[in-house]
């Protein structure tokens, strides 16, 4: 069973500082959780939100195993910039980063010069955007970097690939000017309960986070590839909560627990719920892998350009 947490809601100090976030990450890692997800929606007010990407990188240093996921509003970002930032973040987190692809936020004011798009256009753009991001991540094959001082060869040009993407929304020549991420492709996470979100997830997600409703139908619509996590609020006594997760476990790949009172409820999950899940054989005693992909049971993909 995959187990992640999303900090949100109450308990945060008025202006959450880096030491406060570090405390959360350390608690979550103590419990062997697979990842902590930063949507940019924590704390009592969404008016005070550090950009999740620099945040997860700043948190890499106080942890060694737990996955660190940060949200990007891909509607308003360029695939080249997204691919670069996460290639760097994956390196700096030693293969523990994940991209939460957020779409459809209603914030027209902040990007008023952008064209107005229908939901269908937005979705098509998102699909193309993530496809371009993955091409860029693959544009340097794993074996491209030689560092061969005796022969003066830094890289092997035959293993570096311009992507020459020409699509409806983007034309991107590539290659990326960054090494392939340690995970090959950092996992792409989607969290959207709508039918459109599910359709989008089927096309682009490695991990889809859905509410507890019609899980067999969601599983079927999603296809086999993406991991299906169910979002659950942390509520009730630890033994009842653990029992409920155990009961739902066969319908999904795991759970993303929304923590509403920080850091106390996170401590309860780690110290009371996780041991009960371990006792039921649903959670490992400790981390078995090093990268987030390994925690999620997702194979590291070869470059799509590899011969």
């Amino acid at each position: 069973m995959i187990l992640t947490v999303s900090p949100g809601g109450g308990g945060a100090p008025p202006t959450p500082s880096l030491p406060w976030f570090r405390t959360l990450v350390r608690i979550a890692e103590r419990g062997g959780l697979d990842a902590i997800l930063f949507d940019g929606q924590w704390g009592p007010s969404s008016a005070f939100n550090l950009d999740p990407l620099p945040l997860i990188v700043a948190l890499a240093e106080c942890s060694t195993r737990i996955g660190l996921a940060g949200a990007i509003e891909i509607d308003h970002a360029e695939p080249f910039n997204i691919a670069r930032s996460f290639a760097a973040a994956d390196r700096l987190t030693a293969g523990r980063s994940a991209l939460i692809a957020a779409t459809g936020a209603r914030r027209p004011g902040d990007f008023g010069h952008a064209p107005v798009r229908t939901a269908a256009e937005r979705q098509a753009r998102a699909v193309e955007c993530i496809a371009v991001v993955r091409k860029l991540w693959d544009s340097w094959e794993d074996e491209a970097i030689l560092l061969d001082k005796p022969n003066g060869r830094f890289s092997n040009p035959d293993r570096v690939h311009p992507i020459n993407h020409m699509g409806d929304f983007f034309s991107v020549r590539g290659p990326l000017n960054a090494p392939r991420p340690l995970q090959g492709n950092p996992p792409v996470i989607l969290r959207d309960a709508s039918p459109e979100g599910l359709a989008l997830a089927r096309q682009i997600a490695d991990v889809f986070i859905a509410p507890v409703a019609d899980l067999p139908a969601v599983r079927q619509a999603l296809g086999d590839r993406p991991r299906l996590l169910v979002t659950v609020p942390f509520a009730g006594a630890p033994d009842q909560f653990a029992a409920r997760l155990a009961e739902l476990a066969s319908l999904c790949d795991g759970f993303d627990i929304a923590i509403n009172t920080l850091p106390t409820d996170l401590g309860t999950v780690v110290d009371a719920v996780v041991p009960l899940l371990r006792a039921r054989g649903l959670r490992p005693a400790t981390y078995e892998g090093k990268t987030l992909r390994e925690h999620l049971g997702l194979a590291r993909p070869r470059s799509q350009f590899a011969a």
Partner: protein, 445 residues
């Protein structure tokens, strides 16, 4: 000769192994350092031990896609970490040194850039700086839906509006907007938000940043453009300018000219620090420094040497013999791209008629590396300062980390002995180090 003027010091990371095209081949170089956070941490910590004002990472959002036979031996910007992400990782490993990075205004959203640097400023407790560039190569344009860059004037027009929008967003909350009053349940004071209502030629932004005003009020703005339009933008908005003259006389002219343009924007010359780029190789004797440099030059692969010369001569030299002069028939009459570089090489060819190999072994692309003992290097710095040619220096080390270590261990103490440089940090933010005032919010009464 002594002066009490305190200089500002920044260090440039272009390539992680150093500024010399063959630096990664140096026996002591960490060839894989460009993607290794531990390596960067140690560089930043060394610079902080040397009390540098600023650790700066140059960037372009593109890999080269042609002439790979040469670029694969000279990997400038080919395999690097995105700067803001990297600087965030360095924020936790350092406590005082400023953290600056390049982000292009041609391929990003003002809201996203404002948010990224405000976040870096929060995470580093007031040490962020943004180098505003418009990008100057088509490799970058092709990654963002264009086949070539827009013309220079249009790029700068867009950059100018971009910087204005970012500045407005950084001021979209008063410093005391977030009151956190548990008694009244008021998290922020609504009258202290100042939503941006911007509608210009390139951007339409109607919103407020979703993060509080940052510790420095605004992250520090850096520019390096040398064109007339670039200087005008710098005079209006920049707080650090990287200058590139290779002698103090030219630097002094540029310094006076740029600072002279500030008054018409209501700015005082002290609101900008001009830092002269200064490439150095340090030795125990001048001969040792010269030898170190020459050893590096000799590591330049002929393909790389031909390519670097050919780029600035705007000619394909790949088939020419190395030990004969370049036939004049192969060269254009005048430059189309970098006129100063082209004219500089042509002067050497006319006056000395060197072989292709001799020419690439001495070619420095407009720079002039200072090779000498710590005392000789400080003599040069002192001369520039005494002439009023600069406020400080953007140090460029041919090889890293040893060039930086030599500088921190040998040159910084000499600067301190002469009263030119701090002996400890006296503030905590980059603005404190530079002596730049924290800007008041434009909306403050």
């Amino acid at each position: 000769m002594s002066t009490n003027k305190q200089i500002s010091l920044a260090m440039l990371i272009g390539s992680a192994s150093g500024g010399h095209p063959a630096s990664w081949l140096h026996p002591k170089a960490n060839a894989a350092g460009s993607t290794d956070v531990a390596y960067y941490r140690s560089l930043a910590q060394t610079a902080e031990r040397g009390l540098f004002d600023l650790f700066f990472i140059a960037d372009t959002p593109a890999a080269r896609t042609d002439n790979l036979h040469a670029w694969s031996r000279f990997p400038m910007f080919m395999n690097v970490l995105e700067p803001v992400t990297l600087l965030t990782a360095l924020a936790g490993a350092t406590t005082h040194i400023g953290l600056g990075g390049t982000v292009s205004t041609s391929f990003s959203e003002p809201y996203n850039v404002a948010r990224q640097f405000a976040s870096l400023d929060h995470i580093s407790y007031g040490r962020a700086a943004w180098n505003v560039v418009t990008s100057a190569n088509d490799y970058a344009a092709r990654n963002f839906g264009h086949s070539t860059l827009p013309p220079h004037a249009l790029r700068y027009e867009k950059a100018s509006e971009f910087v204005d929008v970012v500045n407005k967003l950084w001021d979209s909350w008063d410093d005391d907007a977030f009151v956190h009053d548990r008694n009244t349940g008021l998290f922020f004071e609504p009258t202290r938000q100042h939503a941006v209502h911007h509608e210009g030629k390139f951007f339409k932004v109607d919103g407020a940043l979703n993060v509080a005003r940052s510790p420095q009020g605004k992250p520090v703005i850096i520019q390096a453009g040398a064109s007339d339009t670039g200087l005008e933008l710098a005079a209006r908005t920049a707080e650090i300018v990287f200058a590139s003259a290779s002698n103090p006389q030219d630097a002094k002219r540029g310094y006076d000219e740029l600072k002279g343009r500030m008054a018409k924007y209501g700015r005082h010359p002290d609101q900008m620090k001009i830092l002269a780029g200064l490439p150095v190789v340090i030795g125990n004797s001048q001969q040792e420094a010269e030898d170190k440099y020459q050893a590096l030059q000799e590591m330049i692969h002929p393909d790389v040497g031909r390519f670097r010369l050919g780029t600035d001569l705007e000619a394909d030299l790949s088939d020419l013999p190395l030990d004969e002069p370049i036939p004049e028939s192969r060269l254009p009459k005048s430059a189309n791209l970098h006129k100063a570089f082209f004219d500089g090489i042509m002067k050497i060819i006319r006056e000395e008629n060197p072989t292709l190999r001799q020419l690439y072994l001495r070619y420095e692309r407009g720079r002039k590396t200072i090779k000498g003992t710590p005392k000789q290097i400080v003599d040069v710095m002192e001369q520039w300062i005494a002439m009023g040619a600069t406020d400080g220096f953007m140090m460029q080390f041919s090889t890293l980390p040893d060039g930086l270590e030599d500088f921190v261990n040998l040159v910084v103490p000499e600067l301190q002995r002469r009263g030119m440089f701090r002996t400890q940090y006296t503030g905590t933010t980059l603005r404190d180090h530079l002596g730049l005032a924290r800007p008041a919010n434009a909306h403050a009464a």
